[in-house]
């Protein structure tokens, strides 16, 4: 009475076929990732050493390490974080907790989403016009970081808004019904419950800019500098630009060096991403509802 019928068997065959097809597609998708990472590690790992990470380039950049570029990238991302987080988080709180739901707010939200689609070279040119020339920061870490910050604002806002909206509306209603003002509600209930999401989302988004080249190329990153930057008004080297330079601009470059630079850059981004994911898991483990 429980034997498979003709129809059962046919359905089973179809489903196996589709599983195979879908699995195959996924495999094709993963292949490039594995190839890229594999090549980088295969060719880049031998270059990496303590000296590579912590000394400057020598012999017209064909030897030595990448310390100024590594430090520069970290500085650029940190300053960008410092600028974009307060601004973006504040804007997101206003937009999701205060702004009335009317055409104006909707237009702003649309503009923010569109801003995320603006090509980075456009942001770069904006950065040159605004920070380098108009505000007279010159080509400097400050100008480059602010350019990166402007570029990441939309994603910071979106990530923050998503965390805020993940806080159940019932909590807000409970507060308002007890006579709490909007700010008291935000301060005491919404933010404490959204802060982990905001933090990790924002770190994740902003650390991705470590790989950006165009926005910093005209605003603060230099091909080669003999000295480390002394303040945010100095220029700096950066990993992304350094990679571009050693890959295409310098003759007689040892074949493996660019792979080493790329591997460090990727590791840096992955490291920051894993840190923020670990932070999220740790904090989420401590939470509740």
């Amino acid at each position: 009475m429980f034997e498979a019928t003709q129809l059962n068997r046919r359905n089973e065959t179809t489903q196996k076929l589709f599983r195979l097809a879908l699995g195959g597609m996924t495999g094709i998708l993963i292949l490039p990732v594995i190839l890229i990472l594999g090549t980088l590690i295969w060719k880049g790992a031998p270059v990496i050493s303590f000296e590579f990470l912590f000394t400057g380039p020598t012999k017209g950049m064909t030897a030595g390490g990448i310390f100024p570029a590594l430090l520069g990238t970290i500085l650029l991302v940190l300053v960008a974080l410092l600028a974009s987080v307060p601004l973006g988080v504040a804007a997101a709180i206003y937009l999701s907790e205060y702004a009335p739901n009317n055409w104006f707010t909707r237009a702003i939200n649309l503009a923010i989403i569109n801003l995320a689609g603006v090509p980075s070279i456009v942001h770069a040119l904006f950065g040159v016009g605004a920070f380098v020339i108009f505000f007279k920061f010159g080509t400097s870490i400050l100008a480059a970081s602010l350019t990166l910050a402007i570029m990441t604002l939309p994603v910071v806002i979106v990530a923050t808004r998503e965390s805020l909206q993940a806080v159940p509306e019932a909590f807000r209603e409970a507060c308002w019904n007890m006579g709490a003002t909007r700010w008291q509600t935000i301060r005491r209930v919404v933010l404490p419950n959204a802060v982990t999401g905001i933090l990790t989302g924002v770190i994740l988004e902003v650390s991705r800019t470590a790989g950006e080249t165009a926005p910093i190329m005209f605003t603060g990153a230099a091909f080669f500098l003999p000295l480390l930057p002394q303040s945010v008004f100095d220029q700096t080297m950066a990993l992304s630009l350094h990679l571009f330079v050693v890959s295409t601009q310098v003759p007689n470059m040892p074949e493996q060096l660019p792979y080493g630079v790329a591997l460090v850059l990727i590791s840096l981004v992955l490291l920051m991403n894993s840190l923020s994911i670990a932070l999220r898991m740790y904090l989420r483990g401590k939470k509740k509802w």
Binding site: A174, C175, N177, M178, G179, K287, W289
Partner: protein
């Protein structure tokens, strides 16, 4: 309690907690309340019944002015609470909410400790400055005793409120209203998420609060309205059909619609 507290059974003037006249309310172009005139007496339990969508929640949400948060709501008429028109421009919304506590269908404790839940309203209305620990302890114990929850939670006051059972959560949601000494408690189907045992427990608690607080409770449960309220309001399609002593209304309703509804002939 404060000096304003009514003295049960001695309300000579039958003082009113809530009085509305000609209250109309529109959601956009849809009219949800039609000329609602209601006098709700202080210190008793009034239940509100009526088929789904007849405007019970809308009425409750007008009384503490939570409806106006939706930009498209328009109201006409007056709502007096404790003798004062709450639609007056001078009226401070925060004070209205303080006087009028609300309990929802789904218990909604905040995701903080039981203790902090009870003290939440109190702290908000006291400029956020924290009282001495001992004073706060007194407030917490008092409120939790009143809702018959103290013995169950006294050893886990620092645990998350969201980990309690639904029945306990709902009791806590009532308890956290008490420290700011509201005059009126609005309850929108407070038992409908609870099992029969929880329902019974919360009903018993509501009955205990009678006298000290004016309670307006919406329910779909005829038996509950009959058991647990002194007066009863029947609404139909945004209008008040009948408002009478509960006993009277369930035995000899004055309107045919009321009789039909009570006997289960409406949805």
């Amino acid at each position: 309690m404060t000096a304003m507290a009514p003295i049960p059974g001695r309300s000579t003037e039958r003082s009113l907690a809530i009085r509305t006249s000609k209250l109309n309310l529109w959601y956009g172009t849809f009219q949800a309340l039609f000329d609602v005139d209601l006098d709700i007496r202080q210190g008793i339990i009034t239940s509100m019944i009526g088929p789904s969508g007849c405007g019970k929640s809308t009425f409750l949400r007008s009384v503490n002015r939570i409806n106006e948060r939706l930009g498209y709501v328009r109201t006409t008429g007056t709502i007096d609470v404790m003798g004062q028109n709450i639609m007056d421009p001078e009226v401070e919304l925060v004070q209205v909410r303080k006087q009028i506590g609300m309990v929802f269908q789904r218990p909604n404790p905040l995701p903080i400790s039981i203790r902090d839940n009870v003290l939440f309203g109190h702290r908000i209305h006291n400029a956020g400055k924290r009282d001495a620990r001992s004073e706060e302890d007194g407030i917490v114990e008092n409120a939790l005793q009143t809702v018959l929850l103290w013995d169950k939670v006294k050893d886990k006051l620092d645990k998350k409120a969201t980990a309690l059972s639904l029945e306990e959560q709902q009791k806590l949601c009532i308890a956290r209203l008490l420290p700011v000494k509201p005059g009126v408690l609005l309850m929108d189907e407070p038992c409908s998420a609870l099992d029969p045992k929880g329902t019974e427990a919360v009903e018993e608690l509501i009955w205990e609060l009678r006298g000290e607080y004016t309670i307006l409770i919406v329910t779909h449960n005829m038996a509950q309205a009959r058991r647990a309220s002194e007066e009863c309001i029947f609404m139909l399609m945004g209008k008040v059909v009948e408002h009478d002593d509960t006993g009277q209304m369930f035995v000899t309703p004055k309107h045919k619609e009321t009789a039909d509804y009570i006997e289960g002939r409406y949805g």
